[in-house]
């Protein structure tokens, strides 16, 4: 009992005040860290934080790129972007997408409960999912329409591009890395060849693919004709144009994923494969139980950065299709660019930028949370 009486509980130990010596050393460390970080923080503040704050301010103004008068308009820019006429709500609107959102929400909540996550987090996830599903039911009723239908069109196309291109880029990058790992004859050449497109500028990449996909003179059309198939106007057909852009993007940027996955594969201890083989594991089981877990950190990195990169699609679209045919490939960054620099409506462009930023941050946070925890 005497021991108990004289030994402070662990919490007391943790909460004990630091000695002046340790505290002073910590302050010194912080000062040194700030000293080394100062150049970065200055540049970051000037070119990232300040513009974001300024954009936030501009989004509440009718701010003309060339005009000299700015009128405070409150939430008008946001109303123009997110609202319309004769707006209504019903259960059946975007029913498929809402079902997916609800199913994903349910899965996340169940997972949180099983893992005994904090109740607030679980409730927050569920409430956010329900709110998103409810908001997806808002739409213009009969005789009405969105104030800026181009915004919603561009959001949809950006989401479609991201949803399709991201898994392809990750899956193909991993498959190519698996095929090219090890020191076999020709692997160095193929690694360099597959990475090479990534160093090209977007103008060169889009020029190459515009020629390739040209229905009159393109290599693809020539190949198809030899097979007895009529040339396809890839970039002029609203059903195919986005696929042409996805193909271009995959060719351009899959090389980096290949390199990242190759680096990740080299970090996996070969003895794990030997042990698995001795235990009788076949190729699939070695991949499933050794390679996949060993690549989790790399996969998280690739998935998050790829998702964000895909959201920012612009150069390929603007050069290859200008958002067409019609607005079949119009994407959000193009909409921002044209609103600000072509239509001179800087305040409105700033408002779209901020909403898009929040959307990207939200999706990235969800994805990071899902994948990073496992990693």
């Amino acid at each position: 009992m005497a021991v108990t009486a004289t030994t402070p509980p662990p919490s007391t130990v943790l909460a004990a005040p630091r000695t002046p010596r340790r505290s002073g050393r910590r302050r010194g460390d912080i000062a040194i860290a700030l000293f080394f970080l100062a150049p970065f923080l200055a540049v970051y503040g000037l070119f990232v934080v300040w513009p974001v704050l300024q954009a936030g301010r501009m989004s509440f103004y009718d701010w003309d790129l060339l005009g000299y008068t700015r009128e405070f308009t409150g939430f008008d820019n946001y109303r123009r972007m997110l609202w319309g006429t004769s707006m209504t709500w019903d259960l059946s609107h975007l029913a498929g997408l809402r079902a997916v959102v609800l199913a994903a929400t349910a899965a996340l909540v169940v997972r949180s409960v099983r893992r005994r996550a904090r109740p607030l987090s679980t409730v927050g996830t569920g409430a956010a999912g329900l709110l998103a599903a409810a908001l997806l039911g808002v739409h213009p009723g009969p005789g009405g329409g969105w104030n800026d239908p181009g915004f919603w069109t561009s959001v949809r196309h950006t989401a479609e591009f991201t949803a399709i291109s991201t898994p392809i880029l990750i899956g193909l990058g991993l498959a190519m890395a698996l095929a090219l790992r090890g020191q076999h004859r020709g692997t160095a050449f193929y690694r360099a060849a597959f990475f090479l497109p990534y160093v090209l500028p977007v103008s060169a990449v889009t020029l190459i693919w515009s020629f390739l996909l040209n229905p009159d003179r393109g290599l693809v059309a020539g190949g198809l004709q030899r097979l007895g198939i009529e040339p396809i106007a890839w970039l002029s057909d609203p059903q195919l144009a986005m696929w042409g852009i996805i193909a271009t993007t995959v060719w351009w940027s899959v090389g980096l994923n290949l390199v990242l996955f190759l680096a990740g594969l080299q970090d996996i201890d070969p003895s794990l494969y030997e042990a698995a083989s001795l235990d009788g594991a076949g190729a699939w089981h070695r991949f499933r139980h050794v390679t996949v877990p060993g690549l989790r950190h790399v996969t998280v990195l690739v998935a998050v950065t790829q998702l964000i990169a895909s959201f920012q699609i612009f150069g390929q679209v603007y050069i290859m299709t200008r958002g067409g045919p019609g607005d079949a490939t119009r994407v959000v960054i193009q909409h921002i660019y044209e609103a600000g620099f072509r239509n001179l409506q800087l305040g409105y462009a700033a408002a779209i930028s901020l909403v898009f930023f929040l959307l990207m941050a939200l999706v990235s946070a969800i994805q990071f949370r899902l994948t990073a925890r496992e990693a």
């Binding site: 974001v52 790129l65 060339l66 329409g145 390929q316 067409g324 620099f341």
Partner: protein, 462 residues
């Protein structure tokens, strides 16, 4: 995706608002709207001594061609738009009595030209003289960014009264003159006479029979398709505005307009608009015209002899006249309804207002603009565009240039400049997007036209 798009997750997220950052950076110009003007007396008072050696910066598109034009001052050697304007600039630098020097700023492509010009304005450093489309003029004139020229023109003696009606209208904003027109450029039809002849669509003199009604157009299209297996008509509808220009022209030919009478509201959902859409739906059915051609594809099809009649601009007349491997004829766009009308625009020279006006540079810019206005005949003869001056359009010398006599009416009466409303670029882009949604994405006509009206009204209200 940019090539820097994989440099760390946090940076990438924040890079999403790079556009916002750029926009923010462009928003800091606090110049008062009335700065930079100049009155007539200030420009007239500039002496020859002051002008001697004055250097002005010119912004233009039309391309780069330094290799073929350095030191050349004889415009007869010009074969392209770029060479013509560069040689005229060289000639001005060499010959003007004041000793003014014109330096060209960078940038050559017209489709990024206005982004560069806008950035220069936003940065408070616009050029001293700039080329501008009539369709863009109202956006700048409305914001008081251009020097109003009515009071200034007598200083150099430029006779704006000689400007062709379409060119003059394009240079005018709210009864003020803000530019000196260099040309009128409009859509024409470029005809493969061999195919017309093969289909029997020629008159007794062997001239191609241009249709005079929508019904005749479709009948001729069927005849030519049946007899030759080729397309009767073609134009660029994909990644280009020519298709929508055609649609708008057909509305104008019926006496309609995409705007109401006082130009304050859109009037896209009209019987005339539906008639034009219906007609174009019949034309671009795959048999008479390919519905999915880009500018390049439409041009190639014409030059290869697969299209009998191509709608394209004045700017290709000389090229087709030289390159077409068949008998080529340029002609006015057919009048299919009550009155002639075809999309037209105009290049003109404007003098941007500066934060701090320098009468010497403004006078020098006015001298250069007036010189180019005086040489619009040379520009037209060497580029295919229509001259901006009535006296030139009616001159024998102009009509003797290849094909020019075949489309004089486009310059004098038919060309219909875009309405002088502000935010025309935004208006036109929204219009193209909505009409394209009907053509390429099977959007219901009712929905697309009502959406267009709503969206365009929002733009016009700005």
């Amino acid at each position: 995706m940019s090539s820097t798009h994989r440099r760390g997750a946090l940076g990438r997220v924040l890079a999403a608002v790079t556009a916002a950052g750029l926009l923010a950076a462009c928003g800091g110009n606090d110049t008062p709207a009335d700065a930079g003007g100049a009155d007539r007396s200030a420009l007239a008072a500039v002496t020859d001594e002051q002008l001697k050696g004055a250097t002005i910066r010119m912004a233009r598109f039309f391309g780069d061609c330094e290799k073929t034009t350095t030191g050349v001052t004889d415009v007869a050697k010009a074969t392209t738009e770029c060479e013509t304007i560069q040689i005229l600039t060289n000639a001005f630098n060499a010959e003007n009595k004041h000793g003014i020097k014109v330096e060209r700023l960078g940038g050559a492509e017209w489709n990024t030209y206005y982004d560069t010009l806008n950035a220069a304005y936003a940065g408070g450093n616009p050029p001293d003289v700039a080329v501008m489309h009539a369709s863009n003029l109202s956006d700048y004139a409305k914001r008081n960014l251009l020097l109003k020229l009515d009071e200034q023109l007598p200083v150099t003696g430029a006779d704006i009264g000689d400007a062709a009606p379409a060119a003059k209208q394009g240079a005018t904003y709210q009864d003020g003159t803000y530019g000196l027109p260099f040309d009128i450029h409009a859509a024409l039809v470029h005809v493969n006479v061999d195919l017309f002849r093969k289909a029997g669509l020629v008159d007794a003199q062997g001239n191609p029979k241009i249709p005079t009604s929508a019904e005749e157009f479709l009948a001729d299209a069927e005849t030519l398709a049946a007899k030759t297996g080729k397309k009767y008509f073609g134009t660029a509808r994909v990644k280009d505005g020519l298709g929508v220009h055609m649609w708008r022209s057909l509305i104008d030919q019926q006496g309609g307009s995409v705007l109401n009478e006082d130009r304050t509201k859109a009037n896209v959902d009209s019987p005339e608009a539906r008639t034009a859409l219906d007609f174009m739906g019949k034309v671009f059915n795959g048999r008479y015209a390919d519905p999915d051609q880009t500018y390049d594809a439409a041009q190639q099809a014409f030059l290869k002899g697969d299209t009998a009649m191509l709608m394209n601009g004045t700017w290709v007349v000389d090229q087709y006249d030289k390159e077409a491997p068949f008998e080529y004829r340029a002609a006015d766009f057919p009048t299919l309804y009550e009155k002639p009308a075809i999309w037209g625009d105009s290049h003109m020279w404007v003098i941007p207002r500066q934060q701090s006006a320098d009468p010497v540079k403004q006078r020098a810019a006015l001298e250069f603009s007036s010189y180019l206005y005086g040489r619009s005949g040379d520009w037209a003869v060497h580029t295919g565009h229509l001259a901006s001056r009535t006296s030139v359009l009616q001159s024998a010398e102009y009509k003797q240039a290849p094909q020019r006599a075949n489309y004089v009416a486009t310059g004098t009466t038919n060309a219909n400049p875009v309405p002088p409303v502000s935010s025309w670029m935004a208006f036109n882009e929204a219009l193209i997007a909505r009409v394209d949604s009907i053509w390429f994405q099977n959007a219901p006509v009712d929905t697309a036209l009502s959406d267009a009206n709503r969206q365009l009204d929002t733009i016009l209200a700005k």
